[in-house]
């Protein structure tokens, strides 16, 4: 039966239900609604929502299977609800964090004050795989590096939010936030209206304003493009969606050419100059002349035009340095250094394997820790100690000893849970939260974000590449 009467939050923090099994105040309306539905109706609404997503073509390709194998990103109609008090802390914490990280990136590639003051070890920066020597001495338009961020937050059993990862390169998923909302408005129209959920749909306009803000001074009406790797990229839907919502061109590398010192699009009427690119291609592939020479996705000469100030790019190349999972451990100190304030959103406690004491601790407690490589994403290059086998742990211990710089470890967080439809029952599943932050004339945090849910019972891995799904996120 799809009801909360038998629902058990167990020992986890549940986002909708408190420890006594009662709905939290922010979730009361929703829970009442679900309880009032006739048997089978919730499942029916779930199926209707899935059908809608398939029809809208919000799918990703499943590689290595028969042609035509496409799936929707699994979606669960029971939303995650964030109270306004929780949200205030998240919003101010993210603004503070993004501001400080931007200062940090500018400093690292220019004056290097924070390194000279030995707040962050210099060799850590120089040995990072995401450090871009090509950016040294460069200041991007308006001094902004990380224009679009998707910070991963988790809530532990103590009920506090922690920052798990800063994604400062090409974070994806915001289109799911917008589409999930469209679907859920139709799934629970009355509850949605009565709950006074904050709207998320300003995002494309805010993104456009931010991109226009970056345009070179001499340009009156800038031509803006979203640069995509193409239709076979798993986030292609999002690239196309955002360019459509903003009304700007969606371009591939093959559509662009550098000529006379500017970047141009190849159009039916000849060449047209491009002034701002929201690029969704990684640094490595963006310009075969500067980075990977074998890249077929990028534009030859793009970085040259960029450094000459004749095109703006979001995000700036080089932001990956602040994404290094070992440098992450220093972010609270980075915040303090540039703002004089304590971090509003805490980090998850982190052990740095290049530090001898920390490494000894990590190696002795592998069965309790989560170990991560400095520059992997999507849930790869990671060891979840408590769920790993003896052999897997031994293999990771070897990797850590061989290359300590490249690893960090954190205690296993018992991620909070949200009631989720499983078959014909409602069960708790672990979630994280990825709010999206835009840095233009000012810093804007989209109220909500992507709630990713690990659909496998007990699993803590929420990545869509590893069986995760998503939920709508309601900020009240």
């Amino acid at each position: 039966m799809e009801t909360f009467s038998t629902y058990d939050p167990e020992s986890y923090y549940d986002e909708l239900i408190d420890a006594h099994g009662n709905p939290r105040p922010s979730a009361q309306l929703l829970v009442d609604k679900i309880e009032s539905l006739p048997t089978g109706d919730l499942i029916f609404r779930q199926k209707a929502a899935e059908a809608m997503l398939l029809k809208m073509g919000i799918t990703f390709n499943v590689y290595g299977r028969d042609e035509g194998t496409e799936k929707i990103m699994p979606f669960d109609i029971i939303p995650r609800i964030v109270s306004s008090r929780d949200w205030e802390q998240i919003e101010s914490g993210l603004k503070q964090r993004i501001f400080a990280l931007n200062e940090f990136i500018q400093d690292v590639y220019n004056e290097k004050k924070i390194l000279k003051d030995k707040v962050v070890p210099e060799d850590l920066i120089l040995t990072s795989r995401t450090y871009r020597k090509e950016c040294e001495g460069f200041t991007p338009p308006r001094g902004i590096w990380c224009h679009v961020t998707g910070t991963d937050l988790v809530r532990d059993s103590d009920g506090r939010f922690y920052v798990l990862e800063d994604n400062l390169r090409c974070p994806s998923g915001v289109s799911y936030v917008l589409e999930n909302r469209q679907v859920l408005k139709r799934t629970f129209p009355q509850v949605f209206e009565a709950s006074r959920v904050r709207p998320v749909d300003a995002y494309p306009s805010k993104l456009l304003e931010m991109l226009e803000f970056l345009a070179p001074d001499h340009v009156q009406a800038p031509t803006i493009g979203v640069l995509t790797p193409g239709i076979y990229n798993s986030a292609y839907f999002e690239h196309s969606f955002l360019s459509q919502q903003m009304g700007v061109e969606l371009v591939e590398g093959q559509d662009l050419v550098v000529s006379d010192g500017f970047v141009h699009m190849l159009t039916t009427k000849g060449l047209k100059r491009v002034d701002v690119l929201y690029r969704r291609i990684d640094d490595d592939f963006i310009d075969p002349e500067v980075f990977r020479p074998d890249s077929m996705l990028g534009v030859k000469g793009l970085i040259g035009v960029y450094k000459a100030g004749r095109i703006a790019m979001a995000n700036a190349p080089g932001t990956g340095i602040a994404d290094d999972k070992v440098i992450y451990a220093y972010v609270p100190k980075i915040i303090k250094y540039y703002t004089g304030e304590e971090a509003i959103l805490p980090n998850v406690p982190t052990y740095i394997c290049r530090d001898d004491t920390d490494r000894a601790y990590v190696l002795a407690h592998l069965d309790q820790l989560v170990v991560k490589a400095a520059n992997e994403s999507g849930g790869y290059g990671m060891l979840v100690g408590p769920h790993a086998t003896e052999t897997e742990r031994a293999a990771f211990a070897e990797k850590i000893t061989a290359e300590p710089r490249n690893y960090m470890a954190q205690p296993t967080i018992s991620l909070s849970r949200v009631p989720t439809i499983v078959g014909d029952r409602i069960e708790g599943r672990h979630v994280d939260l990825r709010p999206y932050v835009l840095f233009g004339e000012e810093i804007y945090v989209q109220p909500g974000g992507l709630t990713r849910v690990a659909l496998t019972k007990g699993s803590l891995v929420v990545n869509s590449s590893q069986g995760g799904g998503s939920k709508d996120t309601w900020v009240l």
């Binding site: 073509g57 193409g230 360019s243 061109e249 371009v251 093959q254 000529s259 039916t268």
Partner: protein, 327 residues
């Protein structure tokens, strides 16, 4: 607009038009069979001939049975001009320009493809083919209607129309070519009921039967051919398609009527003038097959010229946008 986008929208519409034509051919043939049940085996072969892909069919199938032909023309993913392949290609093109076309168009095209690719599609096509192929045709009309009423009639729309008109002109010429070639030598059929049914079928293959009747009343091979090539108002006649394509081409380039600023316009303008100053008697005297063959070659040249004028700005880039397969 981006050259790649113009190329994609042009081909998206060509593929949808191609899929619709295949569905219509099959539909007409199914109806024809009801009138001439004894001819069963022989009646599926011409369908494969119209496509010009007999060799591929025969490699995979020993006989021209109804089921084999329907499977081949409708569902064969290895055959690039099957309805399913056309829709898959139209959808891939559509997906790459989702932000250009309206979401109504995209959702319809997406759904059209998904339902056809579903295994229930095959079952229905074999069990209730009349209804099945009618649905395919109506869905492609619906797509055209959505395009007309939900998308701005700007440059992208004009490229879409050109793609559709070029494909339609090509298909009409093929129907006529194959049928004329097959039907005409059977002199003993002339003016028999069988003959009438066959020519009626030719007209129906181009959705032209009713409009023809209003214009000419009696069915004669010469008048049927004349109608399908030269009628200025029937929307599937070759003349009409070329005139419409030319209008769209001029809207894109901005060249005033009667002038031409690029190769595509020059070539298309020449075909249009030829058609306007020729009639069916002249064509039949010189040989209809030769005439249609020449016309198809010239249409292909226009297609090539559209490519070099708008889609492949080759000297500027190393890897030009890929060419898509031609019928």
């Amino acid at each position: 607009m981006l050259s790649r986008v113009a190329n994609a929208i042009y081909w998206m519409c060509r593929y949808i038009e191609r899929a619709e034509n295949v569905a219509r051919f099959i539909s007409v043939n199914l109806n024809l069979l009801l009138d001439m049940p004894s001819e069963k085996g022989k009646h599926w072969e011409p369908l494969v001939m119209i496509t010009g892909d007999q060799a591929l069919f025969e490699k995979k199938n020993p006989d021209h049975t109804q089921e084999a032909v329907i499977r081949f023309l409708t569902f064969d993913r290895e055959y690039p001009n099957s309805i399913l392949s056309c829709l898959a290609a139209a959808r891939e093109n559509g997906r790459s320009i989702r932000e250009i076309i309206s979401s109504e168009m995209w959702e319809h095209l997406n759904n059209f493809y998904l339902e056809l690719a579903d295994h229930r599609g095959l079952t229905m096509a074999l069990e209730d083919p009349h209804r099945f192929f009618k649905i395919i045709q109506m869905r492609s009309h619906l797509f055209t209607g959505l395009m007309d009423s939900t998308m701005s009639h700007g440059e992208a729309w004009n490229f879409a129309r050109i793609g559709m008109m070029m494909e339609r002109a090509d298909k009409t010429s093929r129907i006529l070519d194959v049928k004329y070639f097959m039907l005409l030598p059977q002199a003993d059929f002339v003016n028999t009921p069988i003959d009438n049914i066959q020519w009626t079928a030719v007209l129906k293959s181009a959705s032209a039967f009713e409009m023809y009747r209003k214009e000419h009343h009696h069915i004669t091979p010469r008048k049927v051919a004349g109608f399908l090539i030269f009628d200025s108002q029937f929307p599937r006649s070759i003349r009409h398609c070329i005139a419409k394509a030319q209008t769209c081409l001029h809207r894109i380039s901005g060249s005033p009527p009667g002038s031409a600023t690029n190769t595509a316009e020059k070539r298309l303008g020449r075909i249009k003038a030829d058609i306007e100053y020729t009639d069916i008697d002249e064509v039949v005297d010189h040989g209809l097959h030769e005439y249609l063959d020449g016309l198809q070659t010239r249409l292909n040249q226009v297609d090539g010229a559209i490519g070099t004028t708008f889609f492949n700005l080759k000297p500027l880039i190393e890897n030009a946008p890929q060419e898509q397969s031609q019928a």
